[in-house]
């Protein structure tokens, strides 16, 4: 692989090396969580976790297991850094990002450790591009303390059904209200916009519904926080919607990449504080 033409001086000092034959298997997932400039990368022997946060109310995580990579070598238990995600994502498409079958950009991502830039070696058709993205001190991601014992509602749907709803959401509404109940309307998304109120109902015996375990809840979330999750929804085939006793929302998306492998993206969102939960 032509990527062996990397700088020899840095060759042996990498704490993290990850290679992919098709960079889109990483870049597509990362695009799904790019709603802010900065992302926290955390690599462990299990794989890569990328976190993006917004105003301490929203957190998105993308998980790419070590098995997805053709090569994943890590010399420490945990390697963390922060990068400008927008700038980073300009790199994988350096060759034009064509979707011609059989033509893929290969990636070799290397990190020397604290203080060093993240180096991406991208290769397509014999041409190599080396990108060095500056890293920063990683911030500690917020722990939303969302644990399965506190989960009051859990719904697993096929993404197909939600995609339509999310793409049509009334953006003039400040909130998105999620109602989950063992009785009618079961699972409802509501908006309250300038033109009126809109409700999307999903009955529990619908084909799209794979799992339905609900007690009665109705919570509101800021629309501006949830709208970015549409990108992850668009990529996914299944989504799990869970709320806990505090009204915190967890959306988990199952994403299949170009090669059919599975990755996860999850969103945590705080409820809109003006409304008291029932």
């Amino acid at each position: 692989m032509p990527l062996s033409t990397q700088s020899q001086t840095e060759g042996d000092n990498y704490v993290l090396v990850a290679s992919l034959d098709n960079v889109r298997n990483l870049s597509n997932i990362l695009k799904a969580i790019t709603f802010k400039d900065h992302a926290i990368f955390n690599a462990t022997p299990n794989g890569l976790k990328v976190t993006v946060e917004d105003s301490k109310c929203l957190q998105a995580n993308a998980f790419i297991q070590a098995e997805i990579f053709q090569e994943f070598t890590i010399k420490e238990d945990s390697v963390g850094f922060q990068v400008n995600l927008t700038v980073l994502l300009d790199c994988p498409t350096i060759f034009g990002g064509s979707t011609v079958p059989g033509v893929a950009t290969a990636l070799r991502m290397c990190y020397n450790g604290y203080g060093y830039p993240l180096t991406l070696f991208l290769e397509e058709g014999g041409v190599v591009t080396v990108c060095k993205v500056n890293t920063q001190e990683p911030e500690e991601p917020i722990d939303f303390e969302f644990c399965s014992t506190n989960v009051t509602n859990k719904v697993i749907l096929q993404s197909e059904s939600l995609k339509e709803a999310f793409s049509e959401l009334d953006m003039t509404s400040e909130v998105l209200q999620i109602t989950m109940s063992p009785s009618q309307p079961y699972f409802r998304l509501s908006t309250f916009g300038n033109s009126g109120n809109a409700h999307y109902d999903y009955p529990k015996d619908s084909d799209m519904m794979e799992l339905f375990q609900c007690t009665k809840t109705q919570t509101r979330y800021k629309m501006s926080l949830l709208k970015p999750s549409t990108k992850a929804l668009a990529l996914s085939c299944k989504v799990s919607v869970r709320t806990d006793s505090r009204g915190f929302l967890s959306l988990q998306y199952l994403v299949r990449n170009d090669d059919g492998q599975i990755c996860f993206v999850e969103y945590y969102c705080c409820p809109d504080e003006e409304v008291e939960e029932e």
């Binding site: 033409t5 400008n84 700038v87 980073l88 300009d90 790199c91 498409t93 350096i94 060759f95 034009g96 990002g97 830039p117 058709g125 014999g126 041409v127 190599v128 591009t129 080396v130 990108c131 060095k132 993205v133 500056n134």
Partner: protein
């Protein structure tokens, strides 16, 4: 375009013929990039900023007889001139932002079209020169130049106008281009368009042009090959365009470097990121044994010559490529100029991009 003053034909041709007969004054200064000259004594060539801050060429002259300085526009009208042409669309689909295009028509088989751009975004213009052989394009070609010993005509026209006219005649049965005089000199394009009936449809475009006087012709000759440090074949233009388009998102300036080992790198560097694309095995053109190769002959093949340019200019060059050239190469003068040459059948296209600090 330069303003058009009201003046009589007689005064005009009188003034103009006087100008043609004057030799070029000795004291002239190079203003920018060797393309435009400022001359004194009787003529001035101003570089004027108009409301859009674009540099324009405005030529003032003095009346040959009087002491009063009157502004007379220097455009020439050569009557009885006919040029017939087939479709000339390859170079006009170039989407670069230009405000002047110069048409220099030589009777001796070469149609030279030189495009000078003075983008307000930078202080130095960059220029493009296209040369192609009229014999391959025209069915009929008649030209009566300025004088028997200078059988050429040099015209200035806005490319947008010409390109629009040519676009409507893309499917024409036949196209004639003539230099005519309406209220001012014009390139008149007459296209005979196909119709379903037997009566054909004729579309006429009158494109205003300015005629450049002979004493300024040397400014618009086919540019000399610069004394380059490295000459190299370009990588596939499509790949180059993709890379440069992406790099433009990250930085305003790009460094192009190449060596005599067929290697070229495109580099950008900002506070946040640095990106370098490496092209290998490109090959170096074997220029003949002339003076311009002198500098590069004794050169270490590994050493890179590099130049830093405004990335938008390189991007514009790459955007304009609708035709796949048979040969594409680049000469780099270390820290001075990038000279790009495209050859396609009998058409040659040369771009000069100056270095920025």
């Amino acid at each position: 375009m330069a303003e058009r003053n009201q003046t009589t034909d007689r005064t005009l041709s009188h003034a103009i013929s006087w100008q043609i007969s004057q030799p070029l004054p000795a004291d002239c200064e190079e203003t920018c990039f060797g393309q435009l000259r400022s001359v004194t004594f009787g003529y001035c060539l101003h570089i004027v900023h108009d409301v859009q801050c674009v540099r324009r060429l405005q030529i003032q002259t003095t009346e040959p007889t009087g002491d009063a300085k009157s502004q007379v526009n220097t455009f020439l009208w050569i009557p009885h001139l006919h040029l017939l042409t087939a479709k000339l669309t390859a170079w006009t689909t170039c989407k670069v932002t230009l405000n002047i295009i110069l048409f220099n028509i030589l009777a001796c088989k070469r149609l030279l079209c030189s495009l000078v751009s003075a983008l307000y975004l930078s202080n130095k213009p960059f220029s493009i020169c296209v040369v192609f052989d009229q014999a391959n394009f025209f069915d009929e070609y008649q030209l009566e130049g300025v004088a028997p010993d200078a059988n050429e005509i040099c015209l200035e026209v806005t490319p947008e106008n010409l390109s629009r006219a040519l676009r409507t005649s893309q499917n024409a049965k036949c196209v004639k281009i003539k230099l005519t005089k309406k209220h001012c000199p014009c390139l008149t394009l007459v296209a005979e368009l196909p119709t379903l009936s037997s009566v054909s449809r004729v579309v006429t475009h009158d494109i205003p042009v300015d005629v450049i006087p002979r004493r300024l012709w040397h400014d618009f000759k086919e540019p000399r090959m610069p004394d380059f440090d490295v000459s190299i074949y370009l990588p596939p233009l499509k790949t180059m365009k993709n890379v440069v388009d992406r790099m433009k998102n990250l930085s305003n300036f790009l460094v192009m470097e190449a060596n005599l080992n067929g290697e070229m790198n495109l580099k950008i560097e900002t506070d946040l990121v640095s990106v370098t694309t490496h092209f290998k095995d490109l090959g170096n053109p074997p220029w003949g044994d002339d003076g311009s190769q002198g500098r590069s002959q004794s050169r270490d093949p590994e050493v890179m010559a590099h130049t830093r340019v405004d990335i938008r200019k390189l991007q514009q060059f790459l955007m304009g490529q609708q035709v796949n050239p048979s040969k594409a190469m680049c000469n780099i003068v270390h820290k001075r100029i990038i000279h790009l040459i495209l050859l396609h059948e009998d058409v040659s296209l040369q771009y000069f991009i100056p270095a920025v600090a």
